[in-house]
């Protein structure tokens, strides 16, 4: 059977040898007193909700490297197909690459079947890949979309288990967001109410979890239309300084001035034009 997948299936299964090597290296580095660089994680709040006409996905925009914010405005809602989007929490590289691989394979699959891809297909592909890597790919995803069978929402864990639910939250801020959902979720909400609910759930994560912050991105998916609202809500605009530290010329008095011209002669000059087409 011809395979349309980009991923080459390697016979013999994944080699976990490098995991042992990494553990040994980590131990060696620690012995010398250094610490290995921490993988950039999206300590995150992501969530999704199914409403009357489709799904609303939401995410914060903070990416952290240890206790430092590496990116204040990163995009955590990834494109999978025209009707399916996926929020990612966990290791930033893992969520980015996993969603791109599945997006690519799904496009090939869609061309092969001649149909719009289904959310359950994306779910199957993601869970089978994550299970194959036994949790070493740290990607926790909220997958949502609308297909011929209606709106669907899945949560996918790094070890490869999935849950199909009407509302889901993931990430370090998931408890805060889930509290909002458990209080105010109703089946068959209107679009504005669903967007407000998701916005408030992400806001709860942003303001109560240290790993989440900055702005709120929303993605509203309905049959035949996607509204990618980035940013939907700038909940953390940088403040404006009330005073200025610019000093006028002449504030510091100049006592002496010594100018030494440097004799530089041009030895060689070469020009290389860049192809900017």
């Amino acid at each position: 059977m011809a395979s349309v997948s980009v991923c080459q299936y390697r016979p013999g299964g994944f080699s976990f040898e490098n995991c042992k090597r990494n553990a040994l290296l980590e131990a060696d580095i620690n012995k010398l007193g250094f610490s290995s660089p921490a993988a950039r994680k999206t300590g995150t709040t992501i969530c999704g909700v199914v409403y009357k006409d489709g799904v609303v996905l939401g995410a914060d925009t903070r990416a952290t490297e240890g206790m430092v914010v590496a990116d204040k405005n990163c995009s955590k809602i990834h494109y999978i197909s025209p009707n399916i989007y996926c929020c990612g929490a966990g290791t930033a590289a893992d969520t980015e690459m996993t969603t791109q691989i599945i997006s690519s394979n799904l496009e090939l699959h869609s061309l092969s079947t001649g149909r719009l891809p289904r959310v359950t297909t994306a779910n199957r592909m993601l869970k089978q890949m994550l299970f194959r890597y036994q949790g070493y790919i740290g990607a926790a995803l909220v997958l949502g979309g609308v297909d011929c069978n209606g709106p669907h929402l899945y949560s996918i864990y790094p070890h490869g288990s999935t849950d199909k639910l009407p509302y889901v939250t993931m990430g370090s801020g998931s408890l805060a967001a889930m509290a909002v959902f458990e209080d105010r979720y109703r089946p068959n909400m209107e679009e504005e109410e669903a967007k407000r609910l998701v916005r408030d759930a992400i806001a709860a994560g942003i303001f109560n979890d240290l790993g989440s912050g900055s702005n709120i991105d929303l993605c509203v998916i309905t049959k035949g239309n996607v509204d990618y609202l980035r940013p939907h809500d700038m909940a953390n605009k940088k403040g404006v300084r009330t005073g200025s530290y610019r000093y006028k010329h002449g504030t510091t008095g100049v006592l002496t001035k010594a100018v030494t011209p440097l004799n530089l002669e041009v030895v060689e000059e070469s020009v290389q034009t860049m192809d900017t087409s």
Partner: protein
């Protein structure tokens, strides 16, 4: 292992360190003409409940179900694989597959990969040859047929109840009541079990599913 910046708090859903597990109570009972299967609905990551309405009764074929306990990822992957294999086998045979065949497929996988997997599965269903059957495939990959079987972390609390209350030759309604009560007692005492009680009756006529919500669960002592 990657350590996160918040791992001193066990209440935090730290899915990089803890796998999602169906710390569970599952049960299956044979009766004349079919089987009754039941499960709770809680999936946990550490102390956080990741899904409070899980469906642990997974259809493998038209009249064959499995009850899943252990690692959520492992049991979902195994169930998907066996569903595929059994469907293929059934088409080849041009006949409804035997429950024993399904149980054998589970056993093959659970035994072969016993070091890598954490899965306790109860396979139950109805076939024309032997009627209602319950096969249990616990961690390690043994397979055995039992008239009643319980599994999961909550099962420890109800072995006494099951052993003393099971009678051979119970009717369908008696089996349903027996299962619901046993699961309720386990959910009451086991922290990793809870939510709603999901039941299913599999017989020649097909599959009937029901859900018993929290406030409708049978009541025991008010201690």
């Amino acid at each position: 292992i990657v350590s996160t910046f918040n791992n001193y708090n066990d209440l935090y859903p730290d899915w990089t360190q803890r796998e999602v597990s169906t710390g569970t109570t599952i049960m299956a009972v044979e009766f004349e003409g079919g089987v009754v299967i039941g499960a709770d609905s809680r999936t946990t990551t550490g102390a956080y409940i990741a899904n409070r309405v899980t469906d642990k009764l997974t259809p493998i074929h038209e009249r064959i179900f499995c009850c899943r306990s252990g690692s959520a990822a492992d049991t979902q992957a195994i169930a998907d694989a066996v569903t595929y294999q059994l469907g293929f086998h059934s088409i080849e045979l041009d006949e409804a597959p035997l429950v024993q065949t399904a149980a054998s497929l589970f056993r093959e996988m659970c035994y072969r990969y016993r070091e890598e997997l954490m899965a306790g599965i109860i396979v139950a269903g109805w076939d024309p040859r032997r009627g209602g059957q319950v096969y249990t495939v616990p961690v390690g990959g043994m397979m055995t047929r039992q008239p009643v079987s319980v599994g999961g972390s909550g099962s420890s609390y109800i072995y006494g109840y099951v052993d003393s209350n099971y009678r051979a030759g119970m009717s369908k309604e008696e089996c349903l009541k027996f299962t619901a009560e046993a699961l309720t007692l386990a959910m009451e005492r086991d922290g990793s079990s809870g939510g709603v009680v999901r039941l299913a009756v599999i017989s020649e006529q097909g599959v009937e599913r029901q859900v018993i919500l929290g406030n409708q669960l049978p009541k025991f002592s008010t201690v």
